[in-house]
Amino acid sequence: MIRHTLHSGVCLTVTLAAMAAPVLAEPLTVSNWDGYMAADAIDTFNAATGNEAELVLHATNEEIMGKLIASKGAGYDVVFVSSPFAEVLHNLGLAEELDHDKIPNIANLYTEATELPHDPGNVFSLPYAWGTTGLCYRSDLVAEPTSWYDLLEPTETVSGKTTMLATDRWLLAAGQLALGYSVNETDPDKMAEVRDLLIKAKGTLLAYDDTTFYAKLVSGEAELVQAWDGWCNYGIGENADITYMIPTEGSDLWVDTMVILKASEHKDAAYAFVNYILDAENHRWAAENILYKVPNKAAMDGVDPALIETYPNMGMAPADMLKFEQLRDVGAAQRDYSRLVSEIKAN
């Protein structure tokens, strides 16, 4: 009986494995955040190049990383992830080493954007958008903040109306910056200080949120939030009283990148796609519509000056951004970071 069962189990496994064989030719699969590129970008790309690309969405870096690690990259061709996660993909051997000859539009990038610390020379990633992390607030409801402590130790009237980013690294960065530490600090004593500061801050928080904080500002549910500059712009677009600022202690320089996966079965189409995105005209369209700065000089030079007037953070020069430190992959210390965040959330 046991042998019989085992035998059947093996048969079932074999059958399941057979299902693994690809049946249909799948389209070029691009995963990006929702609303992070032109709604018709895929269609125009398909029309222009005769490819059959498909866009899928991920809500967070971690979500797409989980999927990529589970499938060893299979099923995806191009993914948009923040730079530390691109580094992880590279370290895991899942990222394609880029052949620059196939990406002529790389020439459009700012020089600064080709020498970013996480990937000098764009070996495995191409910057898509960049910016800072600061405070986004309702200037009609709260006094102008100056410091990270305005968020972490809010006055009584603002207490209960603040949100912080839910993603491990940026959540910790708020504490690291406030205390004057590196955003890649791993020293246990210093990180314990960061943890204690953030645990205290949690008591005054409305929620951890990295998807709807600007909507909460617009509705008035929140009044002061930790935000990426570009997403604050969405709020500014709906309510002119919403304002973005970088605290005196500084910010991080975040870079969202495009990575082609080694497992891609449509490498040529994938190269064509990233090249298409880096086209001056296409990338300019992205900047003007997603309201994020793009590291593409040719594109930024063409951005409507009126837009920069409305969204001042769009006008920040690359040299100014580079004063801030980039989040880097911290390798084995990531586990300590996860633990710290668990400790913060457990309180």
Binding site: T5, S8, G9, L12, T13, L16, T60, E62, E63, M65, G66, I69, V88, N91, L92, G160, T163, A166, D168, K202, L205, L206, A207, Y208, D209, S219, G220, E221, G331, A332, Q334, R335, S338, R339, S342, E343, K345, A346
Partner: protein, 286 residues
């Protein structure tokens, strides 16, 4: 019929399905819990006990206790409300009972996410309840009800209440009215009758309801994520995070083993409760 092999033929496909897609994967999780996580996620095939040890690490034990607290409170509230509802249904005329029960359980079969989402609409600071309060003339600031422990508990109770109503109704409807009548004839008050007769005989239904709400709550990750504003971690959220964000599959596997252990433990406890109650029932009948 004992030598008959025909039933085995009928059962085999389903048994194989359950074996291949439930037993084998669960055993796999069991094994996974004894391996080590690679630096960048993935699995290093070195046998270790550190994942299981980590479960009892003060930090994770604290999270465990906290989520057990939330789950226990939710289960207790659901049991009180559910028992009251089931008792009331059983007190209605027989011909209406199945209809009432049907409508009590109906929400349980609609989409879980939708039911949770409804509370976001009701509870948020600019939501329906606050607006209603303002409309009624309430002035001043109301605290945000959403993104709090209470919101998580309300969400859990709301979602699982129908289940408790169902599990409590079953023994209540089987209760022989003669027994409580006899108790009253012997001079016991209504409350005494309830406490000494009705309640003990229907305890197994409450126990079943409690166990299910507790287990479903402690393993839940959707409600804390949507109604808790990411500020509360249930074991379910921890497991979710290990698999989808921290990429620490072995630790996630160890945590889910704990979940299974808790569930089995509670089910055994419930079986004991049921056995005791049926023993008492036997004594009363005899």
């Amino acid at each position: 019929m004992s030598t008959d092999r025909r039933p085995m033929i009928l059962m085999t496909p389903a048994m194989l399905w359950l074996f291949g897609l439930m037993v084998v994967p669960c055993v796999l999780i069991l094994v996974l819990a004894f391996f080590r996580r690679g630096v960048y996620g993935g699995i290093e095939y070195t046998v270790t006990l550190e994942n299981l040890a980590l479960v009892f690490d003060p930090l994770y034990f604290k999270i465990f206790l906290k989520s057990a607290g939330i789950a226990g409170l939710s289960a207790a509230i659901a049991c009180v409300l559910g028992y009251a509802a089931a008792y009331a249904i059983a007190a209605m005329p027989r011909r209406h009972q199945s209809m009432l029960l049907f409508f009590a359980v109906l929400p349980f079969w609609s989409n879980y996410l939708v039911r949770t989402y409804a509370w976001i609409v009701l509870l948020n600071r600019e939501g329906l309840i606050v607006n209603l309060a303002r409309w009624l003339g309430f002035e001043g600031e109301l605290p945000s009800m959403l993104y709090s422990e209470q919101a998580v508990i309300i969400g859990l109770v709301y979602n699982y209440l129908p289940f408790v109503i169902l599990s409590c109704y079953a023994p209540l409807s089987r209760l022989n009215p003669d027994i409580s009548e006899a108790s009253r004839d012997l001079g016991a008050s209504g409350w005494t009758t309830f406490r000494r007769v009705t309640l003990p005989m229907t305890v197994p239904g409450i126990a079943t309801g409690f166990v299910f709400v507790f287990v479903l709550s402690i393993g839940n990750f959707v409600t804390p994520a949507l109604l808790g504003g990411g500020q509360f971690q249930m074991i379910g959220n921890l497991v979710y995070a290990q698999f989808l964000t921290a990429n620490d599959w072995p630790f996630g596997a160890a945590l889910s083993m704990v979940l299974i252990a808790v569930m089995l433990g509670l089910l055994m406890l419930q079986a004991v409760v049921a056995e005791r109650a049926s023993g008492r029932k036997g004594a009363q009948n005899g």
